[in-house]
Every structure is written in C-alpha cells, then in structure tokens.
C-alpha cells in the first residue's frame, strides 16, 4: 500500500498508526465525510436554505414537497416550480392545486432575506430559491407554512453543536474529577465517587426533567440553549469520571509517575501531563460514542416541548410535530428530522467504534483472538 512506502522507514507514533488503521475502515471514513457535510451545512445554514427558520406563510399549511419540473411544453427547461393554491376538499383534507399558469424558475444566488454569514458578513443571497409569491418546499412545510428544509438546516446548528459543547463540558468535568479521584484516592475518592453514583443512580431522563424544571422559565432562547447544554453535560460526566478514575488508579502506580513524584513535580502537573494523557485513547473513543447521547437528549427534551422553543428550530422540536398519527398520516414529511438525527447518531457511533478499535491496540488484539 502507499502508506507502507511512505511510513515504513520513519518511526511513527501511536496516533499515526491509529490514523492509518482508521483510514482502512471505509465505513468510518464515509461517516466522517457525512459528518463534515452536516457540520458544514450547519455553519452555512442561512446561505444554503431558501428561507429563514421563521419565515412563515400561513397559506401553505402542511404543503407537501414542491415538485420540481424540468420540462415545459415537452421541452427541456431550466428547473422550475408551479404555483400552488390551498383548498380544502369535501372531507376538509388539505389539497394543493397546481396552477400551471404560474411558473417560478429556481434561481441560484437569489436575493432574499438578509442574514449574517458566519455571524459577521451581512448578506442577502441564498444558494437557491424562487421569486415570491412562489414558495419552494424541498421537504414540505410545517403547520404554519414554514419550509421544513430550511428549518432542518437551521435546526442542525442547535442539534449538532449541542453535542460538541456538551461533550466538551462534561469531559472536562469528567477528566478533572476522575483524575483527582483516582490520583489521590482515599477520602476524596470516596466523596467524589459517591457523588458520581448519586448522579448515575437516578434514571437519566427524569434527572433531565428535574434539572430542566430548575431552570428559571423567564430565560430567553439563548439562555435556554445554554441551560440545556449544561444540563446535558451534568448528566454525562459521572460515568466518564468513574472510568477515568479507574484508569488513573493503575496509571499512578507506573514508574514514570513515581519518577515524576520523586522529581518533586506538583500533583496537578503530574495529573495533567503524565496521567490523563494516557487515558486519551480511551477518552477520544468515548467522546465520539457519547455525542449521540447529547443530540438525543436535546431532541428528547425538545420533543416534549421543554427544550428549544418555537420559533427556533432544533431537530427534536421539529420532530415534535410528528407526535400524532393523524399528522403523520397526512404529512409524512414532518418525520424528516428523524432521518437526520438517525444519520448523525449512526455516524458518531460508527466513528467512535472505529476509533476505539484503532486507538486501543490491546482491545484490538483481544478482539482478534
């Protein structure tokens, strides 16, 4: 293989070995690509989406996905859509009647609502869209005629970032608590581990609800977002801290830790430079595997209406629309957010599994026996 030629003579560290192993796992690589795309979408959501998350048109309640035509009068034409008009049939079912006299070509880099690209550059151009009064619904509309596609893109910002921020916070806490607990042992260890157990013994979802109830309800949406991140982080750190503590218990007996001690290094330095880095291979895999927990946690909270609040979108609160069989029956497209949640969760798990396999040689050899 090419890699062999490049690396065979050069001494390489374990991460490079890991990376090489990782690249061999096709599925994991595909998942990485998918995640990159998803996170890219989240960053450029306002440019990629034809409408903003709060752009509603009440005349298009539960409009089905708009058909995109490429043929007009039997001739090939630039993709366009027809105008539609809501009518209720005899059974009060929503029917959208196509009006062939209204044609709206799909335009690239169309001028629309103003937004701030990357949060700084003021911009009015959207990747694609149609002129008003045409409405383009790639994945259909919700109850108030908001574009589900646009809302999924905006929702990805919350749903995807909540995992990263949450995992960052809870792993920081987990590593610190686990490190201190394992390194010092004794009373500190007892105290911290009982604390962890207190968090772990309460069923996760109820703890989530309890924490949520403690959040003052005069918070605005940004504050609620951070409150949710912090709540989720508080749920996640305990189990990690316990495992890190276990690893530290054995790591602190190693000779190099002893050596560092004899040199008179501060405990905090020993923990951060000599003990914790050796838990990293485990931690990275665990990080990947626990991100879905945060995404699902946020979705769950938003699904029951206690998370991100309308008009802001998250995948969970978009999905809450689909909690009634009647709505699913008439507007099955409202389940699209579930697909994105599923995709993301699967990707993180595949990557996590792959990372664990390739970063932990011991485990791998065990697996091959």
């Amino acid at each position: 293989m090419i890699n062999d030629k490049d690396n065979s003579s050069i001494p390489i560290n374990e991460f490079q070995i890991g990376l090489r192993n990782f690249k061999r796992n096709r599925l994991a690589v595909i998942c990485v690509v998918i995640l990159f795309v998803l996170y890219g979408i989240a960053v450029f959501a306002d440019f990629l989406s034809p409408y903003s998350y709060r752009n509603e048109n009440r005349n298009y309640s539960y409009s089905p996905p708009t058909a995109i035509h490429i043929a007009h009068d039997n001739k090939l034409s630039w993709p366009f859509i027809y105008g539609t008009q809501l009518t209720f049939n005899d059974f009060h079912k929503r029917e959208y009647v196509v009006n062939k006299s209204q044609r709206y070509p799909i335009q690239l880099f169309i001028k629309g609502e103003e937004y701030k690209l990357l949060g700084i550059i003021s911009c009015q151009y959207h990747l694609f869209g149609v002129q008003e009064p045409g409405r383009l619904y790639l994945l259909g509309a919700d109850s108030r005629g908001r574009d589900l596609f646009s809302r999924i893109l905006y929702g990805s910002r919350i749903s995807l970032s909540i995992g990263l921020i949450g995992v960052f916070i809870s792993f920081t806490i987990g590593l610190i608590v686990g490190g201190i607990s394992g390194y010092y042992g004794g009373r500190i260890d007892d105290f911290l581990m009982r604390l962890c157990e207190m968090f772990m013994m309460v069923p996760g979802f109820y703890l989530l609800l309890a924490f949520r109830a403690a959040v003052p309800d005069n918070f605005n949406s940004v504050q609620i977002y951070f409150a949710i991140v912090i709540i989720l982080s508080f749920l996640g750190w305990a189990s990690l801290a316990r495992i890190i503590r276990g690893m530290c218990l054995s790591l602190k007996e190693r000779e190099y830790v002893l050596a560092a001690k004899t040199f008179g290094l501060l405990d905090i330095r020993i923990i951060t430079t000599h003990v914790l880095p050796h838990t990293l291979s485990y931690s990275i895999a665990a990080i990947m595997l626990s991100i879905p927990g945060y995404i699902l946690g946020e979705s769950a909270l938003s699904l029951i209406g206690l998370g991100i609040q309308d008009p802001y979108a998250s995948w969970g609160n978009l999905l809450s629309d689909g909690m009634s069989i009647v709505r699913i029956y008439f507007a099955p497209w409202i389940l699209w957010p579930a697909f994105f949640i599923f995709l993301t969760v699967i990707c993180f798990n595949v990557i996590g599994d792959a990372l664990r396999d390739c970063l932990d040689p011991l485990l791998k050899s065990e697996g091959k026996e």
Binding site: F91, R144, G204, S290, L303, M323, V326
Partner: protein, 616 residues
C-alpha cells in the same frame, strides 16, 4: 467501554411513550383538565358538559318506531373510552372529570338541565315551588324512586347530602363554595318523607341549576361520615355493590388501567313514553386507553362506539363513514375557550420584596390600548384553518355561543388588522425609537415579554406561536415558552410570576359560575388576583353586575346584566379570546333514540337510547 447509544435509545423510546400518553389527553380534555384543577365546580354544572360524547340518529319513521315498540329494544352494549382512570367513585369529593364522567350515570340530582332548551327540568324532584321573596324553595321528591339496592329515596337522603356531606367542614367538598353565599349556608330541612325545604340567606338565581347536585344515599354513607372515614369511602377498590345510586346505571366492575363496566339499573324510576322500564342498554363499557390517538385507532377498527373528533382527524375519519358504518356530527361550538391574557398584578411578592411582574411590563399590560392592539393582532381565521382544520369559531365574547341564552353576540369585535394594531400602539406612545426594529414604550424600554402556554398541547402551542409571530410583526419581541400544565397553573394561581399566557377555561350555561374568574375577589381572577377593593372602575362594575345578577330571579333582567358584563369584558380585554373548537363526534350507527344537542352531546339521554337488534 461506554455504550451510550443503546441506553439512550431506550430513553428515547420511553420518552416517546410518555409524551404520547400525555399530549393528546391534554389536548382533548383541555377544558375538563382545567376545570378539574381550577374551575372545580363546573363538573357539576350539568350532566353532560364534559361528556366526550356525541350524536347519532336513526331516521326511523314514526310508524316504524311504533311498530318496533316496547320490549325488543332491550339489550346490547355501549362501548366508550376514557383516557384517564377515575380516582374514586365518591362524587362529593371528586375534583377530576375522570370520576364525574362515570358517577353522573350512577347518581342524580333533584333537577337537571334540558339538553335543548338549557332550562332546568325535574329529575329526582318532580316539582318545586318558591316563596314570593325567592328565599324558600320547596322540593317535592318523586315517589317510588329507589336506590339501586332497593331502599327508597326519601327526604332524609337529600338533607343528609347537604347538611352532613356538603356542609361538613371535614369533607373537602368541591360544591360547598357554590352553596355558600357570603359565608352563609342554605338551611336544608325535611318537611315530610317526600318534601324538602331549602331556606336561602339571600336570593340566589342559579339555585335551580345548582340543584343538579348529586344526591347520595344516607343508609350507605351515614356510618362512614359518623366515624370520620367519608373521605376514604367509595375509593376505586370498593366492592361495586356498595356504590349505590339512583341513576340509570350501576357500577359492575372496574379493573384499573383496563376497563370499567356499568350495568343497567333494573330498579331505575324512569319510564319511556310507551311505558318501558328504562334504560334499554344493558351495559356501558369504558375502555381505558392511553391517548386520543389510541381512541382514534380503536374507533376505526370498530371496537368502540364513539369518538370525539379533533379538527385534524376529520379528513381521516369522515371518508370512512360509509365503509365503517358510523355517522359524524358537528354539534357546533364547544364550551371551552382559548385566550391570551396579560399579568396586571401590581402587588409585591411578600417573600422576596420584589414585584411579581417587572413594573415596566406592568405599565404596558395595564394599558387598555396595548391589549386592544393585541386583540387586533390575532389571526383567528388562520388559527381555525391551521389548528382546527377549519372546524372552529372565532370568539369575542366571554360567554361562548354554546351558552345559549346568556351569550351576547353584540360585543366589541376586534378584527385581524396589524396596521390598526400598530396605529393604536403608536397613539399609546409605543414606537421604535432605538431603530432596532422593536417597539419602545414611552419611557424608552424595549417591549419584550414572555408568552407561556402548556407544552403538552400542540394545539395551544400552535395558537401561541401564531399569536407571537403576529405580535412580532407589530413590533413586540415575544419569547414563546411551553411549560408543563401544572407549572402553568401554578404561575396563574400561586406564584403570580408571568407576563402573558395562552390558556383555556371551561365554560358553562350559567354565567354566575364564572364568578371566580370575573369578580375582583374571585379565586381565579388571574390577571390581578387578591384584590381587596376593585382595582378599576370596570372591575367594580363587573362585581356589581355579578352581585345583582345572582339575586335577580327574572331571567330577562339577568340577561341584560350579563350582556353588560360581556360588553365590558370585550372593551377592557382582561383576556383576549381567540377561537372555539367545534364539537365533532363520530358515532357508530347502531343506536336508536339518539337526540344530539350542542349542550348535552349525544349521551345526555343515555337511558332512552337503545341499540338496534342487529348490533346486540
């Protein structure tokens, strides 16, 4: 290794079941849910207000009706559903509709309300008379009525029910408030075995409607009252034989979480026009299900006989009418309202020393022009179209059209006009001075507030979202917040810390029963609770109207008073009404004698309803 995925999947699964459990239940019973928590007394306002029941008809010609006649109408089962278990069978202490829904078939009152005319008609009392001063009411009990264990009903039972149960301080009776006027109770006394006299401290117009209060058997309950155990009597684990009423049905079996069976009371006093012993149906079975969605599926598969349709269900249910052999009825506007209200409470929290609501927000909310602008920003037509699939009615008056006689349609109506709303706000000094796109009040504060509603009702969430979106177009910044129903009720009734709320109230025919909301000292005068003196001239006037109305025995004069109250409410807008749902019901086409009514639903005359022979 941490394996969080399966764990979290399990959680998600749980969450889903949990939410499905809750959400349609609230949605369906929004009115009753609320009544059980707050407007306690509505549960007794009438036999059928809360019945999730409906209509059906049989177009028998009169002749075939006669031909079918007498005895071959007996038998068969009516299968209904309920989404929550009864908590007890004790009608006196029951505050939840899951109990009263069942007990109203087991117990009866002296009077009842006619489902069509909404007038009071005799039930256990066959006649009554009132003294010229309107204070002494004499009721003549129907002769020959027996409890379903064979013991005759006498005046002792009526006296017992009032004096020893309702007026018993140790029993948390939910109807005591209604039968207490200015702290004084009625004097209830036995004249002879079949005559009871009520002496009222002052004139009380809704008295006859109040007499729909269920009468309970003295011979069964006296012992429990004397030993102080009444509050624990007739719990859900009671032997069904012990629960004795005069109603058309009696309890036969109850399996918690599964089903409840009522069976025909063979000793029931009522006769049909042809002299048949009523009721005809031999069993009423309540299947206990988790949610309205489950009810819908069960109805479509044919295992239950009746389903209350939500607007969004209609397009699914209606096309199957022929195939699945049922009939859908539109009974007109429902009783329960949906509204938005603003906190006008100027009081200070005695614990923290802080005002319940930010003084700058208070200054907006107490401004009637601000509320008028909000009233002009409510897109009722689209709320009906989006939330109710077209099955709804705009509401402007504080009594719904379903209230019939006392409904005043000629109140001030605020049409959906955002420009007008902006003009009104500009006149009141709300203009965008800072140029951030959000209005500023005359003092320069940005108009931003929170709008709460109960998260478990997608219907309310949608209404609140539509309203807040329009308010934002007018230039306010609204933070929409879905919170738990009980937390929301807590905000309204105990901690008072809220800005604006979208919520619903149950309604009734008798305007006086809205006293707890509308009078300034009402328990549920939520926009400005705990008033010692009426805070505003119009609240003072409403107090007067209610005080006069309750003592006015002439119905027409009462109507004038309550019309004025509705007009004041629409002018001052302490609550801004949005829409009323339509009452839609689907009934399997197997019943005879159904007489649907807007007020009573279908099963208001359950004892007369029979099941066609081919369906028994």
């Amino acid at each position: 290794m941490v394996q969080s995925l399966p764990k979290y999947f399990a959680k998600i699964f749980k969450i889903k079941l949990y939410s499905i459990n809750r959400h349609p239940e609230h949605q369906r019973c929004e009115g009753s849910q609320y009544s059980s928590n707050i407007l306690r007394f509505f549960h007794f306002a009438s036999l059928s207000v809360r019945m999730t029941i409906c209509i059906g008809i049989l177009l028998f010609s009169f002749s075939s009706y006669l031909a079918a006649a007498v005895s071959d109408k007996y038998g068969g089962e009516l299968i209904l559903t309920t989404t929550s278990d009864p908590k007890s069978f004790n009608d006196i202490i029951a505050k939840e509709t899951s109990t009263t829904e069942i007990t109203e078939y087991i117990f009866e009152g002296l009077t009842t309300v006619d489902a069509f005319t909404l007038k009071v008609k005799p039930q256990l009392a066959s006649a009554w008379e009132v003294s010229a001063d309107g204070l002494t009411w004499t009721f003549y009990l129907r002769q020959g009525v027996v409890w379903n264990d064979g013991v005759p009903l006498t005046a002792d039972d009526v006296v017992f029910t009032f004096n020893e149960l309702i007026y018993n301080e140790t029993i948390p009776s939910s109807s005591r408030d209604i039968f207490t006027i200015d702290g004084k109770s009625f004097k209830v006394e036995k004249v002879d075995d079949y005559t009871v006299r009520f002496i009222l401290p002052v004139k009380f117009a809704p008295f006859l409607r109040g007499m729909a209060q269920a009468i309970l058997p003295k011979h069964k309950l006296k012992k429990a009252v004397d030993s102080g155990n009444f509050n624990f009597t007739w719990g859900i684990d009671t032997d069904p034989k012990e629960i004795v009423g005069t109603g058309p049905f009696k309890l036969a079996q109850y399996k918690p979480g599964e089903r409840l069976i009522l069976e025909r009371n063979p000793l029931y006093w009522k006769r049909s026009v042809d002299g048949d012993h009523l009721p005809y149906i031999s069993k009423v079975i309540y299947v206990i299900v988790q949610s309205a969605d489950v009810e819908l599926l069960k109805f479509l598969e044919g295992t239950i006989d009746l389903y209350t349709i939500r607007g969004m269900d209609y397009a699914l249910v209606k096309p199957l009418e022929q195939k699945k052999n049922f009939t859908v009825y539109d009974l007109g506007p429902a009783m329960g309202s949906n509204f938005i209200t603003f906190n006008q409470n100027p009081d200070v929290n005695s614990k923290t020393g802080k005002p319940f609501i930010d003084p700058k927000k208070l200054s907006w909310f107490i401004n009637p022009q601000f509320r008028q602008a909000v009233a002009h920003s409510i897109d009722r037509a689209k709320i009906i179209e989006i939330v109710n699939n077209g099955f709804g009615y705009p509401q402007h008056s504080s009594m719904g059209p379903a209230a019939g006689f006392f409904y005043n349609p000629n109140v001030i109506q605020y049409d959906y006009d955002l420009d007008k709303a902006k003009d009104i706000l500009a006149q009141a000094g709300f203009v965008d001075r800072s140029g951030d796109g959000i209005l500023d009040d005359p003092a320069g504060n940005t108009v931003e507030f929170s709008l709460y509603t109960n998260a478990d009702s997608t219907e309310r969430m949608d209404i609140a979202a539509i309203i807040s979106h329009d308010l934002e177009k007018v230039g306010m910044k609204v933070n929409l917040k879905g919170i738990e129903f009980n937390t929301l009720v807590g905000k309204l009734t105990s901690n008072y810390e809220w800005d604006a709320i979208v919520l619903g109230l149950t309604g009734g025919v008798e305007p006086h029963f809205g006293k707890n909301v509308w009078t300034s000292d009402g328990q549920l005068h939520f926009w400005h609770p705990n008033q010692k003196e009426p805070a505003t001239p119009w609240e003072k006037r409403i107090d007067e109207v209610f005080n006069q109305g309750v003592q006015e025995l002439d119905e027409d004069k009462r109507k004038v008073l309550y019309d004025e109250f509705q007009l004041i409410a629409s002018k001052e807008l302490p609550v801004v009404y949005t829409t009323l749902n339509a009452r839609l019901v689907a009934v399997r086409s197997k019943f005879g004698n159904l007489k649907p009514s807007n007020f009573g639903g279908v099963m208001h005359n359950l004892e007369e309803i029979y099941i066609k022979p081919e369906y028994r």
